[in-house]
């Protein structure tokens, strides 16, 4: 374990990701709870103010403080993407592992079902499902999770096939390990690299997808704020509201690149081939 932690700590991408994560935590988790003020408070006398010491990112068309809105919006975007990615990785792990360790017929059915999900035009389905009925965060998370587990499932399945044929699993079977023990002792540690990198990369993808959906007005709805909804408001007055476009874009970039760097770093260091020779 110490060895693995050392390996991870020596990775540059991971270190950079960790520094960015610290910024993300400060902006999205700590500051919204410390800074006073309502992000939805409107002051029509202060519309389109340039960045000042009082409003460090300026104000929008309704006189709302952009920085306050960004830190609250970023928090919600992260909550959605972290939860959605967790669900999608869990679904991917379950389907991939069952597929990889089952007889060929079940494997075939599960993989064709996965291909079917791959083939669905995602955005069309998001519009179809989210456009009808009342909006809720749970509905958004469920819809995003249902259409984002497939890559993880394919990777887990192929790795499970590889682990199945390994001699340490055959030896463990001969030692009488139960299926649950086999999974937790031998399969899960060997799948951890895939799951961690899959999760972190999924988080950054979901941030972008959620922003896209909210941008077209089907995602997070007022009074809730996400980075996508902020960007959506900016498009009405692009020349007056350019600070809104720049800062919300920067926040999306910060969140996405944080998890990309973390994912890349973890992927490189949890590569088990490193521990095989």
């Amino acid at each position: 374990m110490k060895q693995i932690i050392n390996e991870i700590w020596q990775n540059r991408n991971f270190k950079l990701g960790l520094i960015l994560l610290l910024l993300v935590i400060i902006f999205s988790a700590i500051l919204p709870n410390i800074l006073p003020g309502d992000p939805n408070f409107q002051n029509m006398e202060k519309c389109y103010t340039k960045p000042t010491s009082q409003h460090i990112c300026g104000t929008d068309n309704l006189g709302r403080d952009i920085f306050l809105r960004l830190i609250h919006g970023s928090g919600l975007s992260l909550k959605i993407s972290l939860t959605t990615s967790l669900f999608s990785v869990l679904i991917g792990l379950t389907i991939g592992f069952i597929s990889g360790s089952s007889p060929k017929s079940i494997d075939y059915i599960l993989m064709r079902m996965t291909d079917l999900f791959f083939g669905f035009p995602k955005y069309f389905l998001f519009i179809l499902v989210l456009g009808f009925g009342e909006f809720s965060l749970l509905k958004l998370i469920i819809v995003l999770s249902i259409f984002s587990w497939m890559e993880t499932a394919k990777m887990v399945r192929s790795e499970t096939h590889y682990i199945n044929s390994s001699l340490f699993v055959k030896s463990a079977i001969c030692q009488g390990l139960s299926k649950s023990n086999l999974f937790f002792i031998h399969y899960l540690p060997n799948l951890a690299g895939i799951l961690i990198s899959s999760y972190t990369l999924q988080v950054s993808t979901i941030i972008l997808v959620e922003s896209g959906i909210s941008f077209i007005g089907l995602g997070v709805q007022s009074p809730n704020i996400s980075l996508g909804t902020i960007l959506n408001q900016a498009r009405y007055f692009p020349y007056d509201n350019y600070t809104l476009i720049i800062f919300s874009g920067l926040f999306i970039l910060l969140n996405v690149s944080t998890f990309h760097f973390l994912g890349d770093g973890l992927k490189a260091t949890t590569n088990k081939e490193k521990f095989q020779k």
Partner: protein, 243 residues
């Protein structure tokens, strides 16, 4: 006369080509032999002769196409789940490819620990583990290392320790001396003899190192292209190869 431990009767194993279903080849063909308690047999054969397939078939990790395997008089195909678990615990393999035999992400202790009987306490398990490590001539600090930090010989001995933690009645040793120098081969041979007399363990011994067989075997078999043949002595294999 010792009791019969394992009786293999005319087993065959067919390898099917996944693409051309009609293209079949025999990995094992009409293999028969028996092994009594506390006895040893040796198996000599070149690579791709069917030795690994035989190990997999004996452990019921690959289904056989025909024939039967009896363990203490009972057909292993008729074993219940619990009986099969116990059977596999009693027949432990030591695979030739020791690099792949250890989970690369677990420490040596964790690679070995889970094979112990659940009836033992944690303290008893660790004590037994330390004794086995010492028996194999290894230092106890090896337990906290990861497999990639070990030399080939150390890994090989660790896989032998893993076979011993279940207190088996029989061990299948696939090329156990392949990455050891002559001195360590002799030491290991002495350990095998000690285990045999102390724990009443039977061996199926698979090797290319023919001279070592004479120290070990009650009977010798050769295996070639899935077919098995009993030999009078280890010199007969040389004659067989020359023919």
């Amino acid at each position: 006369m010792n009791n019969l431990l394992l009786n293999v009767a005319n087993i065959s194993l067919v390898n099917r080509n996944q693409i051309l279903k009609s293209n079949q080849s025999f990995a094992l063909k009409d293999i028969s032999f028996s092994l009594a308690e506390n006895n040893s047999i040796s198996l000599i054969g070149d690579s791709a002769s069917g030795k690994t397939s035989l190990i997999m078939a004996l452990l019921k990790l690959k289904p056989i196409s025909s024939g039967k395997i009896f363990y203490k008089g009972k057909d292993i195909n008729l074993f219940s789940k619990t009986e099969l678990v116990q059977y596999r615990r009693n027949i432990q393999p030591v695979f030739q490819n020791y690099e792949e035999s250890l989970n690369p992400l677990l420490t040596i202790q964790n690679n070995l620990y889970y094979g112990f009987s659940n009836r033992l306490t944690k303290k008893e398990k660790l004590l037994k583990l330390n004794n086995l490590v010492n028996l194999m001539g290894l230092n106890n600090n090896i337990l906290s290392k990861l497999p990639f930090q070990l030399s080939g010989g150390e890994k090989q001995r660790i896989t032998i320790i893993r076979a011993l933690v279940t207190e088996p009645e029989m061990i299948i040793l696939d090329e156990p001396f392949s990455s050891l120098d002559v001195i360590n081969q002799e030491k290991l041979l002495a350990v095998f003899q000690q285990i045999k007399s102390e724990f009443k363990v039977s061996y199926i011994f698979i090797t290319h190192k023919i001279p070592l067989i004479k120290y070990f075997s009650d009977s010798i078999f050769s295996i070639n292209k899935g077919k098995m043949q009993k030999l009078e002595n280890y010199r007969a294999y040389e004659n067989l190869k020359n023919d």
